[in-house]
Symmetry: C2
Subunit: 445 residues, 2 copies
């Protein structure tokens, strides 16, 4: 029996594991789900005859290699920095590897070795990155085929809370890894606008968010997502004057998040020795600028941020409980970890809450002497806090691609992201069966 190893059975794994077990039953595979928490893995497998949970400490090299050696394909849901060890094992043991994470420089460097051994290492095979690449490439290839010249590509994605479940002033709840949300944007975002490079450092990223009006959906805002420039060549858009990938948030979110950055709460680089003993109120007091004297802690934070004490932003901060005399109770924690823990209690989805994925591509191109704009919009809501659209849209692409690899239908070798027709055609086709469909609209401009 051919075997698949899924490493990681956490919050984002259920749709993937369900899909793979279903296929395993139909197609006669065996599935091993490994996690450092055996209960999680056991729960995900249930009593499925084609699956087995395994306890794995992924830092134990021999255990990890032993598991990998027994299977045909490895799907890694580990945090991004742990993929590399797994990838080295996969090279040595000649196994294919699939992840939803951004492909690091180190992973790209394994490309030749993977190709020599006729392996495919597929990264960025989730939602964003993942479905965004595939849906964009399908349209880009079609426009080119039809003789169009693409001048601008902007792609916006957000993992949000559905309007009917939006009951907090931030209009946000966690539907994905909280740590990644807290640290999002650190570094410098890069993109192209009118043929010019644009760089936005972290200290200006959330200040300089832009409005995004998605026809038929609503008004949102977006901040630039990492290095968009990397994709102009990968997408076959060499020399394009406008390219931007961005992250969607509810209106008002970004400037309030910028307030948390300015206060200092997103720094994950140093521990606060006293954080086991102090309150949130004392933490905020410690952050107030020494130059500002008098008034309550909240007054001084407002003054430091250049806000009125009862502004929208201050109301958002207050709603988080940042000014409460409640103990933080996390010894030796970094500010980012303190913030993450606080947000996990405030931004937790209720059982019946629905999340919502928005993806919005805007292509501008010239065809037969006419300038055209094509938009492609995906809106997908989850069922509840457990069956989220996020888990589905991250898990299904990996699951479907795993099936294609198991069936020997993928010719590409080496380290890749899903931009080739042999990948995006069958994956998008099957995703449509799960309701993942873009609404396209074309206008002359």
């Amino acid at each position: 029996m051919k075997q698949i190893l899924i490493i990681g059975a956490g919050r984002s794994s259920s749709s993937l594991i369900t899909y793979i077990l279903d296929q395993a039953e139909k197609l006669g595979w065996y599935v091993i789900v490994a996690d450092s928490n055996l209960d999680l893995a056991t729960e995900k497998i249930g009593n499925h005859p084609n699956g087995r949970p395994v306890w794995l400490d992924v830092t134990k090299n021999n255990d990890r290699k032993d598991l990998i050696s027994r299977v045909d394909v490895v799907v890694s849901l580990l945090p991004a920095h742990l993929h590399l060890e797994v990838a080295h094992d996969c090279i040595k043991l000649k196994k294919h590897l699939i992840t939803a994470s951004y492909v690091s420089h180190e992973l790209y460097r394994l490309g030749d070795e993977a190709r020599d051994r006729e392996l495919i290492f597929m990264g960025e095979m989730g939602l964003d990155p993942g479905i965004d690449h595939m849906s964009a490439m399908k349209t880009i290839d079609r426009i080119k085929r039809e003789g169009g010249k693409i001048k601008s590509f902007k792609s916006y994605t957000g993992g949000l809370i559905a309007p009917e479940s939006d009951d907090n002033p931030w209009s946000y709840k966690f539907t994905w890894n909280p740590r990644n949300v807290v640290l999002a944007g650190q570094g410098t975002a890069q993109y192209l606008e009118n043929g010019k490079l644009k760089f936005i450092p972290y200290n200006r990223l959330f200040k300089e968010s832009v409005p995004v009006n998605i026809p038929g959906v609503g008004e949102y805002e977006a901040y630039a997502n990492r290095d968009s420039l990397l994709y102009s060549d990968i997408y076959g858009l060499e020399g394009i004057p406008n390219i931007l990938r961005a992250t969607i948030r509810a209106k008002g979110f970004c400037r309030a998040w910028d307030a948390l950055i300015r206060i200092g709460l997103t720094d994950g680089s140093f521990p606060i020795l006293d954080s086991g003993n102090i309150t949130f109120h004392e933490l905020m007091d410690a952050y107030t600028s020494p130059q500002i004297q008098g008034g309550s802690v909240k007054d001084r934070i407002a003054q430091m941020l250049g806000e009125d004490t009862d502004s929208d932003i201050m109301k958002k901060l207050e709603w988080l409980g940042l000014f409460r005399k409640k103990r933080i109770n996390l010894p030796n924690a970094t500010p980012a970890l303190i913030l993450e823990n606080l947000l996990m209690s405030k931004w937790e989805m209720k059982k019946k809450d629905k999340d919502m994925i928005l993806m919005y591509h805007v292509f501008e191109y010239e065809q037969d002497g006419q300038d055209k704009r094509l938009t492609a919009t995906l809106v997908m809501k989850g069922e509840d806090a457990k069956n989220t659209a996020m888990a589905k849209l991250v898990g299904l692409p990996m699951g479907i691609f795993t099936k294609l690899v198991m069936q020997g239908k993928i010719q590409s070798k080496g380290v890749n992201i899903p931009v080739m027709p042999e990948v995006y055609d069958p994956v998008l086709k099957e995703l449509a069966e799960y309701g993942v469909e873009f609404v396209e609209e074309e206008t002359l401009i």
Copy 2:
């Protein structure tokens, strides 16, 4: 013959190597100076009979261990992140280790092993950290001995350019590792003020610099240096309501540096793919906020920073050449590396330039019912661009301490910083012979 290994023969090593060679001749030791650049090591040794230059790639474990195995004491001038490997070797091979770098958590964790093997690993044995610890501790111990209760300790240090050699608008030139200057302050500074914790994140650190008026020397400004809280226990000042370590700069420096931070030029975390092809002018253009339209690049940067185009800060930026249409010529460089390279050409000391070290301690304490303030000030100028006060004040403490260890005069074991009398008494005494003397002034308050 007893032997000493000095690893690193770069810009900061000359005073140390000269001192150690002098002592070696008197006391009958042999000195090995190892560097990946053999010329540098050879030049530093000259034709001294007690020294030998050696080529060493410090990442080659066997070569490194082989060298360390032959000596009695190792002095590491490597970049801080490379000390740990050397420290592990020193544990295995039973050798003492001396560095001028901040002691990392990882290094502190070797404390028990070092103590068990009767080794001393001495870190923070340079100027700042180093002479600051020793001079502060000497005074702290004396005040306590005389029945004083210390309520406030503030310590300011700066590696500056002497007024007679100050001929640029920043009043700054490199007298020390440029990379450390460019990345200084990233993370969050922590200190205590009136019994309250104070945290300043990087995005506010240089904005919130404070004036420091050093009697008889002049008016400067200072920004908080890393985690001052760590030192209250180490200094024996448990429960002290005020403790601050800070870095001195010329007036006006910090707000101009903050402009570089806000633009985004100090980010060392991502490479600019195009940096081999673009000019500084294009780089600045890329950094201008997309929301600001019209005007020259300089106008738009000024507007983004909230500055007049001819303000002092804008003049400082212009003087650096940031708006010139000159190619950067550093492919794939991070913004921080581009800035470092630019500053190295603008902030280079001329041959006859003198640097200047300022150290200024302010102790406030109660004694016999009276509140007193004691200040201790050190001003030391270098001779020229080669024989800097910086190299002297970083190198001599390491050199003198190395001698004490070679002579068996140090009883302390384990991982330490120089806060104990058996270290600071003889080191400060010998430093005084080299002109390193603090001027003390005491007043009632």
